[in-house]
Amino acid sequence: MNVHLILFLAFGAVAVAGAINLLAQTHPINSALSLIAVMAALAGEYLLLGAEFLAAVQVIVYAGAIMVLFVFTIMLLNAGVEERTQGSRVAFLFGIPGLLLGSVLLGWVVLRHSGTEAVAAGALPGDPKTIGQLLFHEFLLPFEITSVLILIAIMGAVVLASKPPTHPPGVPARKVG
């Protein structure tokens, strides 16, 4: 046992516990908090892998922004405890067996074929400088494209979430002016 492994296991345990808790909880806000825990734990794993910038971004973007949005939505819609409806037999008849089969297969492949080659702690310097240089040189085009994507997402979110126009039903909205 070494420090690296211990830390990995500790963070991993948090992540696993969070993931399971996400499934077990019936109230969405608990699930959301579990997910935040998972994300924080993953940020720790990133740090172990040397991706310190990514860890920070993980916390800021995922935990600090995306999940805040989730919590915000839950609060806004006042989401209650989950109802236990039986809407889908398919999900249980095909989905769960498929999931189990897939997990087993994937686990088998990973354990059998990836070997036991160790990954050193902080093996790769993921500091802001190198990431930035990669991002703004090699991946400049995808970067710009994602910015457009985000712009579109902003507009889409505004349009979707804004209240529908208050003209009487059946009468098409008329453009004014």
Binding site: G87, S88, V90, F92, F94, I96, G98, L99, L101, L105
Partner: protein, 656 residues
């Protein structure tokens, strides 16, 4: 080779006219359409004339290369083949060129008057110019393939023009009939072309003939050249309306009369004769094929002439007459007298074109009536037409010294030299021809007018315009001038044959063999003159018989008809050939198509396949659509299961 003659302009000018009129004519005035149609047609004629002026006979044959067309394989190697857009001019094509452009131009002028009131005036001129383009392509082509393009193109134009009044059922079906019957002939032509490609590796006239020339004549039995020759003759039979494929031509009279004159008398139907003459190198080395040509020609000549006796429709008479005259030309070709055939082709173009145009003028005069029994006595109403038609009749009957005399006697003389049976049948045909032509003349112009006021009812019958008159009247000058020009040509056109002048002119094409034979002719000059006298006498006899029957004793024909009851009916029904074809070919085809192709293949196999596929798709979808329940988690379930399967497959493929 002289400097370029720009031959390509000759076919392209009418094409331009056709394009302009066809695409823009609908919006243009009739005057504009006429001007364009006449200009391009006339320009082609003028250019053809200028070519004649500029070319010297020792510069012929003249080749003109225009563009690449089909090329594969490297030239010279076996298996390679090439065919270009290239033109070829020799004495033979020169004659055809002048006939097509000249007579065509006259008929264009005539059409302006004849078609003036037709609502599709522009369409007529577009088609007519298109026809000229294809006909000139046919005539000027330097290889069989380009010739075939023209050959098919004139077929198309013919189809379009026969069915010009396509709203009339009989016109539409006549067009189809012409097209289909021609396809049968084209089938033979095509196979002949394939044989030529296979054995000679080219379709260029010069290359093919250069390879044919050293071959020995297939006297002993049928060989390759015989096969090619007979197949070419099949093609010619279709285009030139010979037994057994003549049936379309009488029906083609449903088209406007100028069309009948141009396409179905003067030019297109003679394409077969031109093609056989052009292939004389092959036929000369295949005596059996030549015999087939001669026999078919002779039989057709007599056969069609006999039908012509009893026809009452003025254009039908002329149609059968055309078939008969074409038979003469083939007879000439069949006995190896190609130049005589071409000579007759030329004179025939003059007088038959004139006959048709005059007939059109008559029809025009009586307001669309075509039945000769309702005419009569028109001489006083339309003297110019009557006069020109009389000249044409004299010409076709072979009365000295009209054009038909020279060419027909040339043919009869050559036939006599080959085999007296041909001559004898030809002579009988000449008699019959003379009889029915004078019958036509007398029924139309002599006696009293039998039409009367009710002619109005037929006003729109065939040529689509109605003057609303009771009195027959003379046609406008624009129609009469071409009549007169052609009449002059019908009188003097045969004079070029005096002293074998025409034959000498064509000698470079058909070889000196014929001319050499002509040297020996001098000895039998007396026989020739005797034969001339006999044929003229026979023609006069026919004319007299017609006079007796239709002018002096008009009650006799009915008596004779009653006396020859069965035979008369058979002749009146054109020997039931159409019915026979209907029984033998058309009905089995229709029945077969109905029961096997339509009900069997199309309905049972194709339709059922499509319908069952659609039904199956719908049934499967009906089941599968339950998968799309709208429930998000079900979708997730399918995705999870599906991805597990994909994963398993990938692992299985990877691990294996």
């Amino acid at each position: 080779m002289t400097s370029s003659l720009n031959l390509w302009l000759i076919p392209v000018l009418p094409l331009a006219g056709a394009a302009i009129n066809g695409f823009l004519g609908k919006k243009s005035s009739r005057t504009a359409v006429s001007v364009i149609g006449l200009f391009f047609s006339g320009a082609a004629f003028a250019w053809a004339l200028s070519v004649v002026m500029r070319v010297s006979s020792d510069a012929l044959p003249y080749h003109e290369y225009i563009a690449h067309w089909i090329r594969f394989g490297s030239a010279g190697l076996p298996g390679s083949f090439s065919s270009d857009f290239a033109l070829y001019l020799d004495q033979l094509s020169l004659v055809m060129l002048l006939i097509v452009t000249g007579v065509g131009f006259l008929i264009h002028i005539y059409s302006v008057g004849y078609m003036w009131d037709d609502p599709s005036y522009y369409r007529f001129f577009a088609y007519l110019n298109l026809f000229k383009f294809f006909m000139l392509t046919l005539v000027l082509a330097n290889n069989y393939l380009l010739m075939f393009i023209g050959w098919e193109g004139v077929g198309l134009a013919s189809y379009l023009l026969i069915g010009f009044w396509f709203t009339k059922d009989s016109a539409a079906s006549a067009g189809k009939k012409a097209f289909i019957v021609n396809r049968i002939g084209d089938f033979g032509f095509l196979i002949a072309l394939f044989l030529i490609i296979q054995h000679f590796g080219s379709l260029d006239f010069t290359k093919v003939f250069a390879q044919v020339q050293p071959l020995a004549a297939e006297t002993a039995g049928a060989g390759l050249l015989t096969a090619i020759g007979i197949l070419l003759m099949v093609g010619a039979c279709g285009k030139s309306a010979q037994i057994p494929l003549y049936v379309w031509l009488p029906d083609a009279m449903e088209g406007p009369t100028p069309v009948s004159a141009l396409i179905h008398a003067a030019t297109m139907v003679t394409a077969g004769v031109y093609m056989v003459s052009r292939s004389h190198m092959i036929f000369e080395r295949a005596p059996m094929a030549l015999m087939v040509v001669a026999v078919i020609g002779t039989l057709t000549a007599l056969f069609a002439a006999t039908i012509g006796i009893v026809q009452t429709d003025i254009k039908k008479v002329l149609a059968y007459s055309t078939v008969s005259q074409l038979g003469y030309m083939f007879m000439a070709c069949g006995v190896g007298a190609f130049s005589a055939g071409i000579f007759h082709l030329m004179t025939h173009a003059f007088f038959k074109g004139l006959l048709f145009l005059a007939a059109g003028s008559v029809i025009h005069a009586v307001g669309g009536e075509q039945d000769m029994r309702k005419m009569g006595g028109l001489r006083s109403y339309i003297p110019i037409t009557a006069a020109t038609m009389g000249i044409a009749t004299l010409a076709i009957a072979g009365i000295f010294p009209f054009a038909g005399f020279w060419s027909k006697d040339e043919i009869l003389w050559k036939a006599y030299q080959a085999n007296w049976v041909y001559w004898f049948i030809g002579l009988v045909t000449a008699f019959v021809t003379s009889f029915y032509m004078f019958r036509l003349l007398f029924m139309t112009f002599a006696g009293d007018y039998r039409g009367g006021a009710h002619a109005d009812e037929h006003g729109r019958g065939t040529h689509g315009h109605d003057h609303g008159h009771g009195e027959p009247h003379e046609s406008p000058m624009v129609m009469l001038v071409p009549l007169m020009i052609l009449a002059v040509l019908s009188v003097v056109g045969g004079l070029v044959g005096i002293g074998n002048g025409f034959e000498h002119f064509l000698a470079p094409v058909f070889g000196s063999g014929e001319v050499a034979g002509a040297a020996g002719e001098a000895a039998s000059r007396g026989t020739e003159i005797l034969l001339m006298v006999v044929s003229v006498t026979v023609a006069l006899l026919g004319a007299m018989l017609a006079y007796v029957l239709y002018v002096s004793k008009p009650y006799l024909p009915q008596k004779i008809a009653d006396g020859l009851n069965g035979f008369y009916t058979a002749v009146l029904n054109k020997y039931y050939i159409d019915e026979l074809y209907a029984k033998l070919f058309v009905k089995p085809l229709i029945d077969g198509s109905t029961s096997i192709l339509w009900q069997g293949v199309d309905r049972k196999i194709i339709d059922d396949t499509v319908n069952n596929a659609a039904d199956g798709a719908r049934q499967v979808s009906d089941e599968v659509r339950h998968m799309q329940s709208g429930n998000l988690r079900s979708y997730a379930g399918w995705i999870a299961a599906g991805s597990a399967v994909v994963l398993a497959y990938m692992i299985w493929m990877g691990v294996r």
